[in-house]
Amino acid sequence: MSGANGKKGPSSGVMDWIRSACRFATDRNDFRRNLLVNLGLFAAGVWVARNLSDFDLMSPQPVT
């Protein structure tokens, strides 16, 4: 059988890496994963606060 000695092609290595990355990204009990996700959410929240909050509630309604 080819590959009996465990020699994997580059595509299987990439697939393994993708599989472990997906497992890391979806493991809610992992502290590091939660830390990275929440840091990303914090950065996104800061971006929203700085860039999407420039509306004036007291401005007059546009005339249609």
Partner: protein, 335 residues
């Protein structure tokens, strides 16, 4: 109402839960800490000192207030029905009474008595509920730069917390020492020291050291803090061995303020992010606060002044999607 500042404040500052590092006493609801008198500049300054006085570094404020601006944007959770009555007795005394009912069973009523004439010291704030538990503070300004505070907390007849602190406000720094629950007989206690220094008019750096001791055990925790103040934003970061706390406050305009908070605890192995906003519509005497966080909790409070009556109406609701829990509250403030 005379010079009672607390009674005239339409939006009393929420208690600060972030002060957990110090033995846990907070100002009773409806009151804030009185400000320290402004620094009196020395007379007879030389020309060199005059140059420094032209561009002085501002006092950075208290260490515990670094994250306060961001925390004030978030809604306060309240459950049940609450009625608060503010009554000024004289220029020196004010009474705040509130009745809190959770669901249909009365949880307690609390009467707060204070001589909250903020322009005069000492200030005494007391808070007692219907089970006899007392929460009291005495704040005194010893000099223009030094302010001291003594606080007690009891559960019925037993003293639970007692602490004293002294704060020194220099030209461009603030230093605080707090002694919590000292017990000479047992040999236990907690000492907390804070230091905050203005590096530039926008940047302040500081640190906190907590030392605790009891028979057979002692330890210390240190954390560092940095705060950057921009034109319309404040970014603060606190980190140490216990974890990290970052907050970003942004004032978009007079009606809209936003806050983003990140907390990580290395001891609890837990992190969370919260996003909150505050909408002020002064023409409608309305204030709305909303928040959403990474624990799938969505909350909001609505506060409306019912002018010309001296009444404020507060509606609050919090929904925890993960645990399928819903809490709502209704409150009326009179006076």
């Amino acid at each position: 109402m005379g010079s009672v500042l607390a009674a005239s404040s339409p939006n009393p500052p929420p208690p600060a839960p972030g002060a957990a590092a110090a033995p846990g006493l907070t100002v009773p609801p409806g009151f804030g800490m009185p400000p320290v008198s402004p620094v009196i500049p020395p007379t007879g300054a030389t020309s060199g000192q005059r140059e420094e006085a032209e561009n002085p570094l501002p006092n950075p404020g208290a260490f515990d207030e670094c994250h306060r601006k961001c925390k004030e944007v978030f809604p306060m959770q309240m459950e049940g029905v609450r009625m608060v009555v503010n009554k000024g007795i004289s220029n020196h005394f004010q009474v705040v009474g509130f009745v809190l009912c959770v669901l249909l069973s009365p949880d307690g009523s609390t009467v707060t008595l204070t001589n909250a004439a903020v322009q005069f010291f000492p200030v005494m704030v007391g808070d007692m509920d219907n089970s006899g538990s007392l929460n009291a503070q005495i704040i005194h300004q010893i000099s223009s730069r030094i302010r001291s505070k003594v606080a007690f907390q009891t559960q019925q007849h037993k003293f639970v917390n007692w602490q004293g602190d002294a704060e020194f406000r220099g030209e461009d720094f603030t230093a605080t020492v707090t002694l919590g629950n000292p017990d000479v007989l047992v040999g236990s206690g907690i000492v907390v020291t804070h230091y905050l220094q203005s590096i530039t008019p926008a940047l302040a750096l500081g640190g906190e050291l907590v030392y605790h001791r009891r028979p057979g055990e002692e330890g210390s925790v240190m954390s560092l803090v940095g705060r950057y103040t921009g034109n319309n934003y404040i970014a603060t970061l606190t980190f140490g061995s216990a974890g990290a706390h970052a907050s970003y406050y942004h004032k978009a305009n007079d009606q809209l303020q936003l806050g983003v908070e990140f907390e990580a605890s290395s001891r609890m192995q837990d992190t969370s992010v919260s996003f909150g906003y505050q909408l002020d519509v002064p023409k409608a005497n309305l204030q709305f606060k909303g928040s959403v966080d990474s624990n799938w909790i969505v909350g909001a409070t609505l506060e409306k002044k019912l002018l010309p009556l001296p009444l404020s109406l507060v509606l609050c609701s919090f929904l925890n999607h993960r645990k399928n829990k819903f809490q709502c509250g209704f409150g009326v403030t009179i006076g």
